[in-house]
């Protein structure tokens, strides 16, 4: 009797809880998406329509604004290309060399191994900002100011990516495989490229996406390094929108520029979303 009563109660309470859960989820999803909806609407409206207040229906000036953006004083398309170059190369270098570093620690038993591992973990948390000053001085001396090199090459040394790769390697790479390859007479470098890397593919993919996104979104360092409009990456150009200049007063174009920098990422994300969301879980301890 008592038990039956409990069960009924829990049955209806599950339903109530489920309804609450859906309401909260829908509200949160709304809070995540509404901004992008407004952005999309406003990117289709002309400056004059924008001054008249918000309407939820898109207007017909998408093309005009897009054209206006292409011909604005900011080389926004060039900015996107720059961002692609910097983020793409960083992602490639970062994942390749982080896997290599992880492999060095994983597969070989050398004297400084323990020290190297501890050291890399210890420096994982040092924010790039605190070394920015010395970094800027250094690259000024190296004549690398206003150059992509200081934005790309440092990606080779990425302790967090290394840590992720090491964790993954511990679970998938057995040394017997390496041994077998050695018996077949393969060189160490070849083993790494032909056997280890393909095995690490899932982790490499996840980390490549994260590194790409992190560099794509990075603002602090590029803002200090890049000086020419033609070399600036998207975040730096977007930040300039915030700074005032009398040639940028068409809000339709401003919205379009923001949309142009956000929506491609959203589209790519929706295509890859399963990998990305899964990747966060996989990496348990990232960042």
């Amino acid at each position: 009797m008592d038990k039956d009563y409990r069960k009924k109660e829990s049955g209806s309470s599950v339903r109530v809880r489920r309804i609450i859960a859906y309401i909260v989820l829908i509200l949160l999803a709304f809070l995540c998406l509404v901004w992008f909806y407004i952005l999309f609407i406003n990117a289709t409206r002309s400056h004059q329509e924008l001054t008249k207040g918000f309407t939820p229906i898109p207007s017909s000036h998408f093309g005009d604004n897009f054209d206006g953006m292409l011909h604005s004083t900011q080389p926004i398309v060039k900015g996107m290309v720059n961002s692609l170059i910097v983020a793409g190369l960083s992602a490639i270098l970062c994942t390749y060399f982080s896997t290599m570093t992880a492999y060095a620690i994983h597969a070989y038993n050398f004297k400084l191994r323990k020290f190297a591992y501890t050291f890399i973990l210890a420096v994982m948390m040092i924010p790039t900002q605190v070394t920015a000053l010395g970094f800027i001085q250094l690259i000024t001396k190296m004549k690398l100011m206003n150059n992509f090199v200081p934005l790309i090459v440092p990606a080779i040394a990425a302790p967090a990516t290394f840590f992720y790769m090491k964790q993954y390697m511990d679970s998938v790479l057995s040394l017997s495989l390496v041994e077998a390859a050695r018996i077949d007479g393969a060189g160490e470098y070849l083993i790494f490229n032909r056997i280890v890397l393909p095995l690490m593919k899932p982790a490499v993919a996840v980390q490549a996406i994260f590194t790409f996104v992190a560099n794509w979104n990075n603002y602090f360092t590029p803002a200090l390094v890049l000086k020419d409009e033609e070399k600036k990456t998207l975040p730096v150009l977007i930040a300039e929108l915030r700074g005032a200049d009398f040639l940028k007063f068409d809000m339709g174009i401003v919205y379009m520029t923001i949309a142009f920098s956000i929506f491609p990422v959203i589209i790519v994300y929706l295509i890859l979303s399963k990998n990305i969301v899964g990747g966060v879980t996989l990496g348990g301890v990232k960042e």
Binding site: I136, A157, F220, P235, I262, I276, V285
Partner: protein, 304 residues
């Protein structure tokens, strides 16, 4: 025979060093050397004023004394902390809630993949573009004011960026929106790692879902919660993009949204290497202490 194989192993092991070369080289050049020059700089008076270069003159700890005695650092640390807390409290609350719901088999929520995709989405958005977007949306004649006026909530536009509370709330809110999806997924991973038999046993004993959450899930999640807390705090200390662009670097209203990194950026920007160096070192010490805590908490086994 035995001897030969040993020497072979040693020969293989030299590849450990070889494979470490790229990392070491790049790390030393682009991280370690800058770190030391930053520290070195902090003991000098060294800045540019227009076309003039002043210094470098060795002045010992004067830069540190200046920063620590003026009280500005604490004000900006306070700003940073307040905006971090505004974002972190709802972030951890909703992440726990959603994590519990998503992992609760009795709820059988539909469209889980959709919701997970949506809540993780803001994490990928360029913080600078997101901040610029919020700046335009919340301006006096922007869409948010326009909608609130149309709905009759407001009589006249509210100046979000003239109000200390509103600006801080917006920064906190943006951090919340950008990070709660990520935290949810991390916590879910933790929750799914909990032994299911514990839940079953509790249910047999007649525990309500609230009791299960507070008595079983939460205590077992402690390590990962602390990890989330500390990493989020370290991330919070580095807060820069959002307030920088939202306020155009001024940290207004009344410097109430000026974070520590924004302050550092101001010094870097005016090429005041002495003060910038001292400030960097102080930030380094603060994050260092927090990192040691996280290092201890996660109990990373370095001997493995």
């Amino acid at each position: 025979m035995k001897k030969k194989s040993r020497s072979k192993v040693v020969e293989y092991n030299k590849w450990g060093y070889i494979f470490l070369i790229p990392f070491t080289l790049v790390y030393v050049i682009f991280q370690l050397i800058p770190l030391f020059t930053t520290i070195w700089n902090s003991f000098f008076e060294n800045y540019r004023s227009g076309l003039k270069q002043i210094g470098p003159n060795f002045i010992g700890l004067e830069n540190y004394v200046k920063i620590l005695s003026s009280g500005d650092l604490w004000q900006y640390a306070g700003n940073t902390l307040i905006m971090w807390i505004i974002g972190f409290i709802p972030q951890i609350f909703f992440s726990l809630l959603l994590g519990a719901w998503f992992t609760d088999p009795s709820l059988r929520l539909k469209c889980q993949q959709f919701f997970k995709t949506v809540i993780y989405l803001p994490n990928l958005i360029m913080a600078s573009a997101f901040a610029m977007l919020f700046f335009t949306l919340f301006s006096d004649s922007g869409p948010v004011n326009s909608i609130l006026l149309q709905m009759g909530v407001l009589k006249e536009p509210f100046s979000f960026f003239s109000s200390v509370a509103a600006t801080r709330l917006l920064v906190g809110f943006m951090n919340f929106i950008m990070w709660f999806g990520n935290t949810t997924i991390l916590l879910m991973a933790g929750m799914m790692g909990i032994d299911q038999s514990l839940f079953e046993a509790a249910e047999v004993d007649g525990a309500t879902s609230n009791q299960i959450f507070f008595k079983i899930t939460l205590p077992l999640l402690r390590p990962i919660l602390i990890y989330v807390l500390i990493t989020s705090l370290i991330g919070g200390l580095q807060m820069f993009d959002v307030p920088q662009i939202l306020t155009n670097g001024t940290g207004d209203p009344a410097r109430s949204t000026l974070t520590m990194i924004m302050w550092l950026n101001k010094h870097l920007y005016s090429k005041n290497f002495g003060m910038g160096g001292a400030l960097s070192v102080l930030l380094f010490i603060i994050t260092g202490v927090l990192s040691i805590i996280v290092f201890k908490m996660t109990g990373t086994d370095t001997s493995k």
